[in-house]
Symmetry: C2
Subunit: 156 residues, 2 copies
């Protein structure tokens, strides 16, 4: 995966958290994800297609997911319910949507978001893809954004 | 979600299992998925975008996932490893790819597949979407295909 494809996702994540959720993020060093590392408890997943195919995964711990929902809905939910998964799905949609506008030449469109919950779930990308994981620290705990994107072979 | 959108996924699933994997499927009655029902242990997820946005989830138990990989790779894997998740991702890609060609007017393209593993994980669609779940029985155990698809509002 091209390194230049990472920056739009990094910037859109920081922007979504800071502008929309009023939550400052401290960025860690992006790394190549390999192997079966368990994800955080709540993962927002969205697909990208166009001149590239990809997947974006926004990973949040339980507290971060509840806080994202609280910031978006102005109300604290008692548990990980449909309001929380909708909020995480919408956050994932916003992060992917802003990044795609910075990658205009790839003409990307986004799928519906889905939100995975459950301790110790793992999300695997196809092994031909090299996903990059961007770790962030926040007052709500760690946040990760994983991006795997491959250019679609040109149709002759 | 329109009922006519379900049939292409039903047919493509039966075709992929019977033609490619030589595994007969018995179809159950499709139903509307609601609430947090845990998924099977292995879920292939792929996004769709175009004149509609959607997500397809192919759910398999552990034995079915190992058998899908064995049928595709001609070799039994000892556990749910990257070869197995790649096989489930490719199966998900084939099921979505065949269905999209039957839904030509929606001009759909598919994202990269991702594969979720882990007992008791749940996959939530946005609550504004009504996903349909198609259950199948197979000699390898139950298989489910969930589809959520909403038409994209026309841009004026």
């Amino acid at each position: 995966m091209k390194a230049e494809y990472i920056n739009p996702f990094l910037l859109s994540t920081v922007s979504a958290f800071e502008t929309m959720l009023h939550c400052p993020l401290t960025r860690g060093t992006p790394y190549i994800k390999n192997g079966h590392q368990p994800s955080h408890e709540v993962s927002g997943v969205i697909g990208l297609s166009g001149k590239a195919q990809g997947t974006v995964v926004v990973g949040l711990g339980r507290e971060a997911a509840l806080s994202v929902a609280e910031a978006m809905l102005q109300e604290r939910q008692p548990e990980i319910n449909a309001d929380v998964t909708d909020a995480v799905g919408e956050l994932t949609n916003i992060i992917a949507g802003r990044a795609k506008s910075d990658l205009e030449h790839l003409n990307l469109s986004v799928s519906l978001p889905s939100v995975i919950t459950g301790r110790n779930h793992c999300i695997q990308f196809p092994s031909r893809v090299t996903p990059i994981c961007i770790p962030f620290d926040s007052p709500w705990g760690p946040v990760t954004v994983e991006v795997g994107l491959v250019e679609t072979p040109a149709v002759a």
